[in-house]
Amino acid sequence: MSTKTSMLPSNVKSSFLSTADHYKYPVIFLVAFLGIWTAGVRFYEIPQFILPTPMDIVMSFQGEIGSLTPHTQATLWEAFFGWTVGNLIGITLGAVMAEFAVLKRSIYPYVIMLRSLPVVAFAPLLIIWMGVNTGPILAAATITTFFPSLVNSIAGFSSTDQLTKELMHSLNASRWQVFRKVKLYNAVPYIFSALRISVALAFVGAVVGEWLVGNQGLGYLIIVANNQLNTLLLFRALIIIGVFATAWFGLMMFLERWIVNWGSQASGGATR
């Protein structure tokens, strides 16, 4: 789409303007938000351990990067592991379930039931089964990723319309050909939807896991900060999670735009 508009100079200009427009409001909002925050803290003389100013938080990173790095790496690895494994299993199983109606009909109701349970509810079980180590953390991140991924994948692999199926049937296409040449493509936007949604969820799983059994990682840091009333540290951990999750999410959006170039991005509804 962008290639079409960029052929005309006037359109380039207008698309540039609309990009500026696009960012204008979020930026204004952010500045206003930080301003009110700072003014509020100053005006009511709120102590730093309850609510530091944004500037305090940013400045507090100074000299702390070295000590934050291993924790960041640990959490990133856990989230990445959970995201990768959860999506791999979720997408594959979704494809299989969408292809075999009996399987879908027998399992799907339970999937819906299970995915509404919060991961915290699984955590004690995971610890009993896997012990106090990184196992339960990786499992928690995997489980939080898995369910939305599975649900999206089933929806995606089932999204091929009746007429297209009839066309393939009239051409005497084999089941495998229908899957590979049609269903797979129709599933791609849904798969990307799953990959995007599950970034945040993988971090949730990793952080919750660290709360329960971690001895390092940003979730672990949050607990430590909480015990020490070290509010600055707590905010630093939150900001790092936010930055990496957003960048990761953005990378997925970029990949989707690059790969799904047939004008059906984001049609994969953000079911979760």
Binding site: L163, E166, S170, N172, K181, W262
Partner: protein
């Protein structure tokens, strides 16, 4: 009765031989057999369609036109009766890649270019042609439907009429024995439809293939067909078969003849009476 009528009259050039190509014998179709309220869509359909003939099926909505065509194409199974194409069952014909089905919508795969969409049948059917031959054939047919130079375009870049022409090219690219067309121009505006009709007339003239064409557009049916089959609704039954005795080749001027007007009026009245 229809078959006798057909043999009596002096026919257009497509009626060289009276070989029966498609025979439909006592076909019933009942939807929802396993439910409390089954509906009979087709009842005791008997038809003979000749080699190289262009036959249209018209009738009020709900008369089972599309159902009948989909039975012919082995897309849905009939409940009773037999369908034969050159002595083979509809299923054998489909599995042998001897039929080409055209749908109400273009059903293009949006992630494929125009060329890749037209090549789809070769890919699926693993035709015994080489890649280069297949490409050449696709190129040729794209030229026939007036899409030369659009090979690398994506479907979303094309107008509705152009997309429908890609769909036609995809259906014409391989070499089946029969064409089954389910209101392929229904989604088009009147002007584009007219152009596509001309296109189809010309293509039929050129490749002479047995064609069954479903439409609710009477003048389209008269213009294109050797015979028009009128179905009555609920359940769908053959009400009348009308021979269109207008010589071929036909063109735009055909539409302005008295014969054309008479057929159109007669068929319109017939269909309207059936549509209660």
């Amino acid at each position: 009765m229809s078959a006798d009528d057909a043999t009596d009259k002096s026919a257009g050039i497509s009626r060289r031989a009276q070989d029966v190509k498609i025979s439909v014998d006592s076909v019933d179709k009942i939807y929802g057999m396993d439910t409390d309220s089954p509906t009979q869509a087709l009842k005791d359909i008997n038809l003979e369609i000749y080699d190289n003939e262009f036959v249209s099926i018209v009738g009020p909505s709900g008369c089972g036109k599309t159902t009948l065509l989909k039975c012919l194409g082995d897309i849905i199974p009939q409940t009773a009766g037999e369908i034969n194409v050159s002595g083979k069952s509809a299923e054998e014909v489909r599995k042998n890649n001897d039929l080409s089905f055209f749908f109400q919508e273009d059903v293009l795969l949006p992630w494929r270019s125009v060329m890749e969409n037209v090549m789809l049948p070769f890919e699926i059917q693993g035709a015994d042609t080489t890649e280069a031959e297949a490409r050449e054939r696709a190129q040729e047919i794209l030229k026939t439907v007036g899409l030369e130079g659009f090979e690398d375009h994506q479907p979303e870049e094309l107008s509705g009429g152009m997309r429908q022409r890609v769909a036609l090219a995809r259906g014409f690219v391989y070499n089946p024995e029969i064409f089954l067309m389910d209101e392929p121009f229904a989604a088009l505006d009147e002007l584009t439809r007219r152009k596509m009709n001309q296109e189809l007339l010309r293509i039929h003239q050129e490749i002479q293939k047995t064609t069954v064409f479903v439409t609710h557009h009477i003048s389209e049916a008269v213009w294109l067909s050797d015979r028009v089959i009128v179905l009555s609704p609920r359940p769908g039954e053959v009400h009348e078969v009308v021979e269109i005795d207008i010589p071929r080749p036909r063109d735009e001027s055909t539409r302005h003849t008295d014969a054309f007007d008479e057929y159109e009026e007669y068929l319109t009245d017939t269909v309207m009476e059936l549509d209660v």
